[in-house]
């Protein structure tokens, strides 16, 4: 009998632990890296159109000569693999701004929280940042799940979140600025490019959760409208590591292109096993939307050479701003580190917020949001502009080819920044997709 009671006492915490770990185990959407913060010099100036108008009634976020901002990323758990580097980039931007005197004459003081790859934790920490630390704004999140968890908190407490990762679109919160690409700045143009250059028969392969499924729903509508052909559609559980059967299925379907929305570890297994099966990028074109420079390092560039990706920024993107950005990132965090799209988007977010606050002359959320409309910034990826209507930003689309050294060579770009359209309203074929 004594044993019974003892058993009961332990089973509850264990079940709890399992639930937590199960949640933590899901959702990788791309990637990034480790950290060792050290002070650095101030390069890369924001050429934002800012005009101070000074009336700032001091909110609680300003204590003395500093203004607090929140940073919330997973620094532990499965998503740490990606989010740690974004935090690094955000801290770098803050440091650079501080070296130039901060924002509205105040030093920026980052309050870093660990979302621990656990979505309820993100919501809880966001609430803490807003109601206890009274931060002026928050930068953070990676997975759509973490963003969806934080969204109600930001709307309830009227906070401001800058979300730096490409995502599946179909969202427009008045309290979130989206600095990553929405679908019409990454997936839609990538599919168009593939249909034009690589062939009509497309195989969709993705991890089994919201982003790939939403993305593929859009792609299927697009294929139908543009005369493409769906060769097959396959989802694998997150963390799936054996792709032999999937590869056999792809071989049987003989597609022109595999559109890959796999995430995290699965990409490593897929590309390693694809090469082992004797299939190179010459035999089969794949285009991935979750593999950037950071992931390429972890997969092993030799497995990826010749495969395609679609993003808005590469480390090799040729702008003067990018040169300074890459130099200072490497200087601060180590020469072996790489920059990639979400890292850059996190960096840009900080500058955009600072520019908006300068223009508003205040840290007040409503004023900053109003001032943010139409703000331009010469980002490492080129000129970006905040769209006043949907709080996404104009971004240039780039298709690239992975090289044997892990860098990405740009094959095509959209020429000019593309207007964000999270609900794909300007695309006839997308009618009925929105929710």
């Amino acid at each position: 009998m004594r044993r019974r009671g003892w058993l009961k006492r332990w089973i509850v915490p264990f079940a709890l632990c399992l639930t937590l770990s199960a949640c933590g185990g899901s959702n990788n959407e791309g990637g990034a890296s480790p950290s060792s913060p050290e002070p650095s010099s101030p390069p890369a100036s924001p050429s934002a159109t800012a005009s101070a108008s000074g009336e700032a009634s001091p909110p609680a976020s300003e204590s003395g000569g500093a203004v607090k901002v929140g940073i919330i990323h997973s620094l532990s758990g499965t998503m740490a693999i990606s989010e740690v580097s974004v935090r690094d980039a955000e801290l770098l931007a803050i440091e650079e701004l501080n070296a130039k005197g901060g924002v509205l004459g105040k030093k920026i003081e980052p309050v870093v929280e660990d979302g621990a790859s656990d979505w309820p934790t993100f919501a809880e920490k966001a609430r803490k940042l807003l109601s206890e630390d009274k931060v002026a704004t928050v930068f953070g999140g990676w997975t759509s799940a973490s963003r969806k968890a934080m969204l109600p908190v930001f709307e309830e407490l009227n906070g401001l979140l800058w979300y730096p990762v490409q995502y599946e679109g179909m969202e427009m919160s008045p309290n979130i600025f989206y600095t990553g690409a929405t679908t019409n700045q990454q997936i839609v143009p990538a599919v168009d490019w593939l249909l034009e250059n690589k062939g009509k028969k497309v195989y969709l392969l993705g991890s089994d959760y919201v982003f790939p499924q939403t993305a593929n729903k859009i792609i299927k509508a697009q294929l139908k409208a543009k005369g493409g052909e769906l060769a097959g559609e396959e989802y694998t559980p997150l963390g799936h590591t054996d792709y032999s059967t999937i590869i056999a299925k792809i071989q049987a379907a003989k597609p022109d292109v595999v559109f890959n929305t796999l995430n995290g570890d699965s990409n490593v297994a897929f590309f390693k096993q694809l090469k082992d099966a004797g299939i190179s990028s010459k035999d089969l074109t794949t285009l991935s939307v979750s593999i950037a420079e950071e992931e390429a390092r972890g997969i092993g560039p030799e497995f990826l050479a010749g495969h395609l990706v679609a993003w808005n920024y590469y480390q090799t993107t040729d702008t003067p701003e990018n040169k300074t950005f890459v130099d200072s990132f490497k200087k601060k965090y180590g020469a072996d580190r790489v920059t990639d799209d979400p890292i850059e988007a996190g960096y840009v977010a900080v500058y955009l917020w600072a520019a908006a606050a300068e223009k508003a002359g205040s840290f007040d959320v409503a004023k900053v949001k109003e001032a943010a409309k139409g703000i331009e910034f010469n980002a490492p990826e080129g000129k970006v502009t905040i769209d006043g209507d949907n709080q996404h930003i104009y971004k240039t689309v780039r298709i690239g080819e992975l090289q044997a050294d892990g860098q990405i060579k740009e094959l095509w770009n959209s020429g000019s920044p593309v207007k964000p359209d999270p609900y794909l309203k300007t695309y006839d074929w997308a009618a009925g997709l929105g929710g």
Partner: protein, 302 residues
């Protein structure tokens, strides 16, 4: 025909990988009854050993020697995982024998600590391991049917590890002592066997084999702080299905799950395939709760 051959080979290959990750657990959980949630992290240790050895070869040895790194990595993976297993047993596990739930929580905690440790040492992102060039490519059976050398290598490695374990457990003196202790601890102690030492070595061997598995998995899978979590559920599934405490059962369990998984995945989707496999296992365990091969031993009653 070509497809069937490919799928048959894939099934065999998946089975061999499952068996490899489950063999270590067949010892720590199967024989010793420690619900070892840190098993996945020993796999991770093995994977990072491969990465370390590769780094050393790249940085300080001539280019031409690079291909020789892999056998060395296998050895180091075993040695390192063995050593850490020994340490863990001495410092923690030995206080928890006969308390399965405590050992479950404790080893789970150890797993988290090891994950974070790897993250601190090697960084959070995955690392890349270049496989030796003699494992590149594959055996071409006929048009459209290629058996990758890496998968063949893993098949051979599993056969070798299985053979070595068989010889150790059933044909050596140390193995006889091990079996004696696991089957009837008190009687073994009475006969003068140092059960403490046998426990420690047994646990360390189980950990070491997990390390070898990790090193082999670098050939086909990711290498990162959390890779253990990708495999731990499969490993337990194989051991439980096979029948706790029987090596042959573990092998049969792996073969069954691997073949079924490949078949279902081909017929449906990867997610649904996994669900179907789980359903089959649950149904089977309802019918035969002890697994494929039940052990008849008094120690199980106690």
């Amino acid at each position: 025909m070509a497809l069937w051959l490919t799928q048959l080979f894939n099934g065999l290959s998946v089975s061999s990988i499952l068996l490899l990750i489950a063999l270590g657990l067949a010892i720590t959980f199967g024989l010793m009854r420690v619900i070892n949630m840190a098993h996945g992290e020993f796999i991770m240790i093995g994977a990072y050993s491969a990465y370390l050895v590769q780094k050393i070869f790249q940085s300080s040895l001539p280019q031409g020697w690079f291909d020789a790194y892999y056998p060395l990595a296998l050895l180091l993976a075993f040695a390192l995982a063995f050593a850490i297993g020994l340490l863990l047993e001495t410092a923690l596990i030995r206080f928890l024998y006969g308390r399965p739930l405590d050992s479950l929580l404790a080893t789970w905690g150890v797993g988290l600590v090891l994950q974070q440790l790897a993250r601190t040492i090697f960084g959070a992102p995955n690392v890349g391991v270049t496989s030796p060039s003699w494992l590149d490519g594959g055996l071409r059976i006929m048009t459209g049917v290629v058996f990758p050398y890496k998968r063949l290598f893993i098949l051979a490695l599993v056969a070798l590890v299985l053979l070595a374990m068989y010889l150790y457990i059933y044909r050596s003196d140390a193995g006889r002592r091990m079996r004696a202790v696991m089957q009837n601890r008190d009687m073994a102690a009475c006969l003068g066997i140092s059960t403490r030492r046998v426990d420690a070595v047994t646990f360390a061997i189980g950990s070491g084999i997990a390390g070898v598995a990790g090193c082999a998995l670098t050939l086909i899978g990711p290498i990162g702080p959390t890779i253990g979590t990708n495999y731990i559920v499969d490993a337990f599934m194989v051991v439980v299905l096979g029948g706790v405490g029987k090596l042959i059962g573990t092998a049969a369990g792996a073969l069954g799950i691997g073949m079924l998984n490949t078949l279902f995945e081909w017929g449906s989707t990867a997610s649904l395939g996994k669900v179907l496999v789980f359903l089959c296992i649950v149904a089977f365990l309802q019918w035969k709760p002890m697994g494929l091969f039940a052990v008849r031993s008094r120690s199980l009653d106690g």
